[in-house]
C-alpha cells in the first residue's frame, strides 16, 4: 500500500505502485481550517491545473509523467523521481544556481509560470543525470513579463532565507542561466526591481529630525 513520505503545505505525498512502476500519489486533503466551499474550489482547481501543466511543460523541461488524475479524490498519480533536492545540494555547490536559471528560463519561453519555484522543487536524478521540475499546483499560462518577474522574485526570496551565505553566488549563476536560454528576458530582470519597490517599505526613507 502507499506510504506517506512527505507532508507538504497543500498535499500529502505517498509513495506507492502504479502497475509495474513506482509512483507518487499526490493527494490534496481537506483543510480543516478553511471554509468548505473555498477549500474544495482550491483543491479542484489545483489538481486540474497541476496535471495539465506537468504535461504542458514537458516540451521544455523534464517533469514527472502523469499516470492518473482523479478530480473526485483530488489526487494525481505520477512517475516517482528518485532524486536529490536542490535545497540539499546547493550550499555545497552554489554554481548549481545556473541550472535553476536555465530550467526556469526554458519554462518561461513556453509562457508557463511555475508559481512556486523554491529550491525543494528542483530534483536531480543521478542515474538518469537529469534535473526535474516538480510541484505545478500554482502554475499558469501567461506571457506577461510581470508574471515571469514574480517567479524570479520568488527564487530570490527563498534563496535569501534558506541559503543566506551563498546567496550572491547562487543568484548570479541563476541570472546567467536564465539569460542564456532566453533572449527576450532582459526586461524581466528590470521588472523584478519594480515589483520589489512596490513591496512594503522598500525605499528606505530615514532622516534626522
Amino acid at each position: 500500500m502507499e506510504k506517506l513520505i512527505a507532508r507538504g503545505a497543500e498535499a500529502d505525498i505517498y509513495l506507492g505502485r502504479w502497475g509495474p512502476l513506482s509512483a507518487i500519489y499526490k493527494v490534496r486533503t481537506a483543510k480543516q481550517y478553511m471554509a468548505e466551499e473555498l477549500d474544495k474550489k482550491i483543491r479542484r482547481q489545483r489538481t486540474v491545473r497541476e496535471a495539465r501543466m506537468l504535461r504542458a511543460a514537458r516540451s521544455a523541461v523534464d517533469t514527472p509523467h502523469v499516470l492518473y488524475v482523479s478530480q473526485k479524490k483530488y489526487t494525481i498519480v505520477m512517475e516517482y523521481i528518485n532524486g536529490k533536492r536542490m535545497l540539499d545540494i546547493i550550499d555545497k555547490s552554489p554554481s548549481q544556481g545556473k541550472v535553476m536559471g536555465e530550467i526556469l528560463g526554458r519554462l518561461h519561453m513556453l509562457n508557463i509560470i511555475h508559481g512556486d519555484p523554491n529550491t525543494a522543487n528542483f530534483l536531480f536524478d543521478s542515474k538518469k543525470n537529469k534535473w526535474y521540475l516538480v510541484d505545478f499546483g500554482l502554475s499558469y499560462i501567461s506571457s506577461r513579463k510581470e508574471d515571469m518577474a514574480v517567479d524570479l522574485h520568488l527564487v530570490k526570496e527563498v534563496v535569501y532565507v534558506q541559503h543566506p551565505t551563498s546567496f550572491k553566488e547562487i543568484m548570479s549563476g541563476f541570472y546567467d542561466g536564465y539569460m542564456s536560454v532566453s533572449g527576450k528576458m532582459a526586461g524581466i530582470v528590470k521588472k523584478i526591481d519594480e515589483i520589489e519597490r512596490r513591496g512594503r517599505y522598500a525605499r528606505n526613507r530615514s532622516f534626522l529630525f
Partner: protein, 328 residues
C-alpha cells in the same frame, strides 16, 4: 538591575513602558488616537494627539513602576516604519530625555519590537513568525543575525485590507475588532479571488472584489468571506514555510493577531505540522511601549546606541535590513 524606558508612536498608539532586564514589564501605559467613523488615521491629527498625551503617558509609566528618570539605564524609541509626524513625537521626547539625563538612546524597528516582545512573552526560541500589523504582513525566520522575509504581501497588508473594507461600511480604523464581530454573523461564503503566489500574497484583488459585491450582498456575509479568504491565504503561506523550514514554533504578532478566527485557523495549521502556536496576550499583541523597551534592552546588552544628534526616524524601513545581533 537594568531598567529601560521604551516609547512607541508609529501610528495610532502612543505608549510608554518600563521594563527590567529579567523581562518583567513594570508598566505599559497607552493612549490610542481614534479617528472619526468612516475614516482612516490622519497623520497630522494622530501626531497632535500624541503630542498632547505624551508627557502624561511617560510620567504615568514611570510612576506606575515607582522610578524616576535618573534610575533609567537607557531610552528606546520606535524609529520606524510608520507615519512621519507620529514617529517624530516619540523620537523627539526620547531624544530630549536621553540628552538631558545623559542616557544611551536606542532606535528600535517597530516590527522587530513586535517579534521580540512576542518571543519573550511566549518563551519562543526559534519561531517561524507571522508579523501582522497595519504596516506588515510577513512570514519571517531568524537567519544569521537578521529577521529574514520568507514571504510577504506584494501589495496591501492584511491590516489595510480589513481597515479599508471597514471604511467602506462606515467604520473607523483600526476596524479589525468590529469587522470580526460582523463576520461572526455571516454564514454564506461568497466567492472571492484567492491569490497565493509561491510564498507571497496579494490582497488587492480581494479588496476590489469585496467592494464590487457590496450592493448585492449583506455586510455580514462579505465580512465573513473576506476574513475566510484572507486568513486561508495567510494560513497556507504559513504552512508552506513550516513544511520547508521545519520550525517547531509558530509565533503570531501584531494587531491582527488578536482575531479569534485567525487564531483558530493557525491552531489547526500548527497541529498539522507538529508545531506549537505561540500567541501573545491581546494586551501585548498590538502596538505598545513594552515591545520597544524590551528590544531596547536586547540592543543595550549588545552595546548598541546612538548619539542624540544622530537620532533618526524612518517612515520606510525594511525589517530584513535591521541587524539583530542576539539572533546570530
Amino acid at each position: 538591575m537594568t531598567l529601560g524606558l521604551g516609547i512607541e508612536s508609529t501610528a495610532h498608539t502612543f505608549s510608554a513602558s518600563v521594563i527590567d532586564d529579567s523581562g518583567k514589564i513594570r508598566s505599559n501605559v497607552k493612549s490610542v488616537y481614534r479617528p472619526p467613523s468612516g475614516s482612516g488615521i490622519h497623520p497630522r491629527e494622530a501626531s497632535r494627539h500624541h503630542a498632547e498625551v505624551a508627557p502624561s503617558v511617560v510620567l504615568s509609566a514611570l510612576k506606575e513602576s515607582s522610578i524616576n528618570y535618573r534610575e533609567l539605564d537607557f531610552i528606546a524609541y520606535s524609529a520606524g516604519p510608520g507615519l512621519g509626524p507620529c514617529l517624530r513625537v516619540g523620537a523627539t521626547i526620547s531624544r530630549f530625555i536621553a540628552a538631558y539625563y545623559d542616557k544611551p538612546l536606542i532606535p528600535v524597528h517597530h516590527g522587530v519590537g513586535h517579534i521580540e516582545l512576542g518571543s519573550l512573552l511566549t518563551d519562543a526560541n526559534d519561531p517561524l513568525v507571522l508579523l501582522l500589523s497595519g504596516g506588515h504582513t510577513m512570514v519571517l525566520a531568524a537567519v544569521n543575525g537578521r529577521w529574514r522575509v520568507f514571504g510577504e504581501t506584494l501589495d496591501l497588508t492584511l491590516g489595510q485590507l480589513i481597515d479599508q473594507f471597514g471604511r467602506t461600511i462606515g467604520l473607523a480604523s483600526p476596524a479589525g475588532p468590529t469587522v470580526e464581530k460582523i463576520a461572526e454573523k455571516g454564514s454564506k461564503y461568497v466567492d472571492m479571488p484567492y491569490a497565493v503566489k509561491g510564498n507571497d500574497l496579494s490582497f488587492s484583488g480581494l479588496l476590489t472584489s469585496v467592494k464590487r459585491k457590496m450592493p448585492e450582498e449583506i455586510q455580514e456575509n462579505l465580512a465573513f468571506s473576506l476574513q475566510e479568504t484572507a486568513f486561508a491565504m495567510l494560513s497556507e503561506v504559513a504552512e508552506r514555510a513550516l513544511a520547508l523550514l521545519h520550525k517547531k514554533e509558530l509565533l503570531v504578532v501584531g494587531g491582527v493577531a488578536a482575531n479569534a478566527r485567525l487564531r483558530q485557523m493557525l491552531e489547526l495549521v500548527s497541529d498539522r505540522h507538529g508545531c506549537k502556536l505561540k500567541d501573545v496576550p491581546a494586551e501585548y499583541a498590538g502596538d505598545c511601549g513594552a515591545q520597544i523597551a524590551w528590544t531596547g534592552w536586547l540592543y543595550f546588552k549588545s552595546g548598541y546606541s546612538v548619539k542624540p544628534e544622530k537620532a533618526f526616524v524612518s517612515q520606510s524601513w525594511r525589517i530584513d535590513e535591521v541587524d539583530v545581533p542576539w539572533r546570530s
